[in-house]
Amino acid sequence: MNTASTAISPGKRAIRETALADLDGLRRRHPGAFAKSAMRRAFMIGLPLVMVLLAFGAMVWLDFSLVRIWNGLHRLGQFAVLMIPPAPEGRFMAFSIALGETLAIAFLGTLTAAILAFPVAFLAAKNVIPNIFVHFGARRTFDVFRSVDTLIWALMWINVVGLGPFAGALAIACADFGAFGKLFSEAIEATDGKATEGIAASGGSKAHQVRFGLVPQVLPVIASQVLYFFESNVRSATIIGIVGAGGVGAYLTELIRVLELKQVAFLILMILVTVAVIDFISSKLRMAVIGKSKMV
């Protein structure tokens, strides 16, 4: 045997020789295996090209014009000058109350959404309810709630409870119900099944399994997500007043429309500071809840 001289066994060598002899035929019969790198290259060049062309097409469709951009930038420059110095001009108290209202809307909206989504999320989790129709239905319900923007929800709730912050809180609750449902059910599905099995083995009922096997595992994750959404909802709640659903957005719209830019700048600064403070508090709380290693 000459296996010592070549590492390839005679069988494999025979295969290789036949393959090399039939190279043209193979190329013809399996074009995919040979053309892959060329296709990849074409993809790498073609995709950005298509994206750029699409962008230019979009600009043409949407009436972009350099003249308008130039004039607009000029006007923005004027605005920036008019914004300095930011000053409340005697409305500091009114702004503070509106900001408080904004925080209240965000807080209540997030909390309501979380409380409503928590039980429904179990229905959408495959490892709790194996029935495909139930969790498919629950998932699609969440999708529908999620895909309607907060401002659209606000417009609809205004029809029911009238103008004001209550409609805003309900709008945030609805939009976040969908988002929470999705995230919570994913968190539930990612749990370790051993704890549940252990409880089942010691004679626990289905309810016991959920209460003592699942809930302790998902609660920290859920708490962290709720805090994170509270942060982002403070931002959403600042704009919900644009359609008349309470909070600081009403002032913002009015002041921008009448070009009271000093007050606008002051109000935006107030919002930025509030958001920064809330972010700070909530990230501290999140760290306390789940520990720094698992920060999302």
């Binding site: 979009a58 949407l62 925080l103 209240a104 209540l108 417009l155 912050p165 209550f166 600042t238 719209t253």
Partner: protein
């Protein structure tokens, strides 16, 4: 097989059960404290936000009848004519929907490019200069903290009504949001290729191109797609302030009580958003798969 369980003598068992009871009690106290704090916060915010649960309960019927009135009358026998009556303005709405998607696309595209250029300056592992990093980070933070619709309000006055203001507003918000995520991706890379390139005397730009870019490109693409999804939703409401897209038409329909138009437009928005969600999810899964294979 029967196994005898050893039973502790009573005095020992009592001590252990006392310890257990006290630890459970401590935990319950903590939970109770959290609940009390929550209740106080709920009460205060309820007062501030002018929450009237009774009004909701008495008016919840309105919501039902509102939804009921938005539903079109579709009969089986006359289905196509009914659909046509419901979607009487389909051509215009479809055009506005395309406009909405294009606003989102352009905002994501331009914003993504700018975020790409900025993110390297905001990452601690590539830029040693603290001032540069600080300035880049605060700039990104400003861009994402001011809501896009506020930018749209200002831009509508500066650039005039129309989709251009919407695109620019989304662009600025996207720069802020993507810049931060991109910078985080860059900070999590493996530094060995970068060090190798630096050892061969490569310039900063070459280091980024050959050391960083191959590691981050799929992560960047994935985040950009996620942002596109969010921007489609955002572009849908840009019309509320006159910044283009389908929002304007929706606002008119809901303010003037054109009930069936509301449901028609809403259904179009929801379908589009869900389709785009599903599409980008597929692509993102592939991107992540590519990442794993490498």
């Amino acid at each position: 097989m029967a196994t005898a369980i050893a039973k502790l003598p009573d005095h020992q068992a009592a001590a252990l059960s006392r310890a257990y009871a006290s630890s459970v009690a401590a935990k319950r106290m903590k939970t109770l404290a959290v609940l009390v704090v929550l209740a106080v916060l709920i009460f205060i915010s309820g007062q501030m936000a002018d929450i009237r649960p009774w009004k909701l309960i008495t008016n919840i019927g309105n919501f039902g009848s509102f939804i009921g009135r938005t539903l079109p009358t579709l009969t089986f026998g006359n289905f196509f004519a009914d659909m046509k009556a419901w979607y009487w303005n389909f051509g215009d709405w479809f055009q506005l929907l395309v406009e909405t998607i294009l606003i989102a696309y352009l905002g994501t595209f331009i914003g993504g490019i700018l975020a790409f250029c900025l993110c390297f300056f905001a990452s601690a592992n590539l830029v040693r200069n603290k001032t540069t990093r600080f300035v880049a980070r605060r700039f990104l933070e400003f861009c994402r903290t001011v809501p896009d619709i506020v930018f749209a309000l200002i831009f509508v006055i500066a650039f005039g009504l129309g989709p251009m203001a919407g695109v620019l507003a989304l662009t600025i918000h996207t720069v802020g949001a993507l810049g931060k995520l991109f910078a985080e991706v860059v900070e999590n890379i493996d530094m060995k290729p970068v060090e190798g390139l630096q050892a061969t005397g490569a310039s900063w730009l070459q280091t980024v191109r050959f050391g960083v870019l191959p590691q981050v490109s799929s992560g960047f693409a994935s985040y950009a797609l996620l942002r596109f999804e969010i921007n489609v939703r955002g572009a849908g409401v840009m019309g509320f302030v006159g910044a283009g897209g389908i929002g304007q038409e929706f606002l008119i329909a809901i303010r003037n009580f054109y009930y069936t138009d509301v449901s028609a437009i809403l259904l179009m928005i929801i379908t589009t958003v869900i389709l785009i969600d599903l599409g980008t999810e597929q692509v993102r899964h592939r991107l992540i798969g590519m990442e794993r294979m490498r």
